[in-house]
Amino acid sequence: MNRLRLKFSKHGPIKFLGHLDVMRYFQKAIRRAEIDIKYSEGFSPHQVISFAQPLSVGATSDGEYMDMTVNSMTSVSDVMDKLNAVMNEGIKITAIRELGEHDEKAMTAAYAAKYRICFRERLKPDFDWINEFEKYLRQDKLPAMKKTKSGEKEIDMKPMIFEYSLDAENECAELLLSMSSAATLKPALLFGAFFNSLGKELSTNALDVHRIDIYRYVEDGNNKYTEPFITDDINTRFMLNG
């Protein structure tokens, strides 16, 4: 039995698939690829797979993750090739890492997510938003009203923004935002509050969200950092202790 973590991208029309439909898509693809997937016990057995974090409908991604358990396999690259052979172009497995016994599920291990945010062609703001956004982000506190189960509460978004860079030429922002069970900041909330601070309304579906990757939390001696789930590149690390 092997536990595997798959990294996949989501592009093109596939971005309109809701999270449940992505799950259904994978369940069928795993069958088509004849992967020796592990099934749960019981009268209606289901495949042992789970996803890191749902991506909102309309967003693309280069860094989605799914964990799955197989009874047997020849190699991780064989699993990857078999799956990619039966996938649509829009979804592609880009990496697989075998997990250790004590590795947490992707769902619980997620700590942050990196996004690239632009505006959709027909809904671009009529002002220099990059410039305004830079000023906005420099404030000490970034209050916003977050919807909770019991209503709304005021939160400060500032500590949930780990890093950002703005690209005036391409009119887009790259943001590393908190995404864990303790604290999650969604791009729509941040941009909604930013627009409100200017007395403007962010129109629905205006944001063109691309998730670059999902990050996990690592403690290594005195170092605390967050880095993509699957990476060989030390430069992708974001140090959390200064």
Binding site: H11, P13, F16, D21, R32, V86, N88, N205, A206
Partner: protein, 624 residues
Amino acid sequence: MNFNLALPDDILLSIEKPERYIGNEVNSVTKDKDSVDIRFAMCFPDVYEIGMSHLGIQILYGMFNSYKDVWCERVYSPWIDMDAVLRKENIPLFALESQDPVKDFDFLGFTLQYEMCYTNILQILDLSKIALLAKDRTWDDPIVIGGGPCTYNPEPITDFFDIFYIGEGETKYREIFDLYKKAREEGTSRTVFLHECAKLQGIYVPAFYDVKYKEDGTILSMLPIYDDIPKVIYKEMCLDLNETFYPTKPVVPYIKVTQDRVVLEIMRGCIRGCRFCQAGQLYKPLREKDVEHLKELAIEALKNTGYEEISLSSLSSSDYTRLPELIDFLIKSCNEKKVNISLPSLRIDAFSLDVMSKVQDVKKSSLTFAPEAGTQRMRDVINKGLTEEDILRGSHEAFLGGWNKVKLYFMLGLPTETDEDILGIGDIANKVAVEYFETVPKEKRNGRTIDIVASTSFFVPKPFTPFQWAPMNTKEEFLEKADKTRKGIMSQLNQKHIKYNWHEADASMMEGVMARGDRRLNEVILKAYKKGCIFDAWGEYFHFDVWMETFKECGVDPFFYTTRVRKEDEIFPWDIINPGVTKAFLLREWKTALSGQKSSNCRQQCLGCGAASYGVGVCFKERT
């Protein structure tokens, strides 16, 4: 994969279920449009989830795309929200694969599965910016072609179609495509092309037939305007289902659709001859597929789709001669693959209960019986073989096996029906409950009890059935009968275990008008559409009052088509078509029905219905 969608992202994100409109599903076919001669847009005029569940389209889609010179794409009715957006933004309706406008296609084919979809045909044409009336179309419009069960009486919608294809689609399209290519190469007119098509068996070009009416409004004559096209159109039929194309790479939708599984068609036709059933007559004679062939198809389709469920499809699966062998095979191979088997339309007996207990969760699933009528007398009239004894014996065995949910289906408004037949519905339901309490002693019920759902639909007489002569009930009669049924159930001892559902009477009446309608309804449908009627099959969008008002404005009496008593020798609008069964046979059956007599099924004795003229199937098998 086609990354260029017809709609911008913000529109797709503002509507319900954008996945309905993005195409690119697994096994959908993309070709280079410049490398094909014919582009065919295949439409099921209802919402995506319904249309994607239809086997016929998957068959023709796969078959057309197996032709090198044809690219077949799919179109479904844009849902109400998308309909509004397309109109507002002036975006022409597009096909899913290429996302190109439907108007650019060579053919637009509609499958017509139920009468209540007729205004949706106009919606598709309108949104595609194709002339609504066939007479106004030029080579700038696609050839609009209709197929499916409703084309056995296409008269209410003749104005909107260039061609009706009568019968099974697998046989004649290649010839139509070749005629089309020749016509376009030679630059002949559309009318000449249609004239050539009209010479083919199974092809009905309504514009080439002239209808004259008698003073009483019935038909005097329906005659071709050319000498070289047939006076009667014979249905097309596959003579060997093992040789014909079957899709083992059906398109797999992203969203959950109604039929979300591999569908394995095991046979066509039915031996039973229930007198209310149109499908039973239209698809005669019964033709079975070879069991070894079916095993291969099943394995291949599961492998190509990744579906977690497979379903057998036919009008009466219990009548498939090699059913035990096929099911054994499926249970074995599906178990390994963790695939579920779904078995609709099985007669409840020891065999089917044994099978069902292997493939379903007994606690969750329910038993389904369709006695269709409340008394044996009434069941004899409709020639439904199921007896009360069958139901109670089946229930008894099922209760022993752990089942405790039963669904019972009935019809109200059948010919010769009396109060006794109506009250019989509550009787049967009660007897099933009593059977449960007698079969399962209290200590073995484990807190569970019997749960019965009785449902009634209102009977709509259909063309090419023995009941095509029968007057239909009025809405008031229907509702009164539903009320009697309800009271009958309420008066039963075990009434608190019986839930009763009944259909909408308005929708049944409209269905009745369209089913046996004639060409004068074209105007009504067009006008109702222009007043905003679409998705009539969806209760929440069906505007009965608008339809009634439109009948009035057009001077058409809807009751002419429903409640009127038809004479034995009346020429029906659908007599222009011959589905294999003869009118003489149907009349014989009508009289037998009125005398309260059953008829034998095709395996017991041949009734001489006429379908044997196709030279295949059960007609030529040894009888039992």
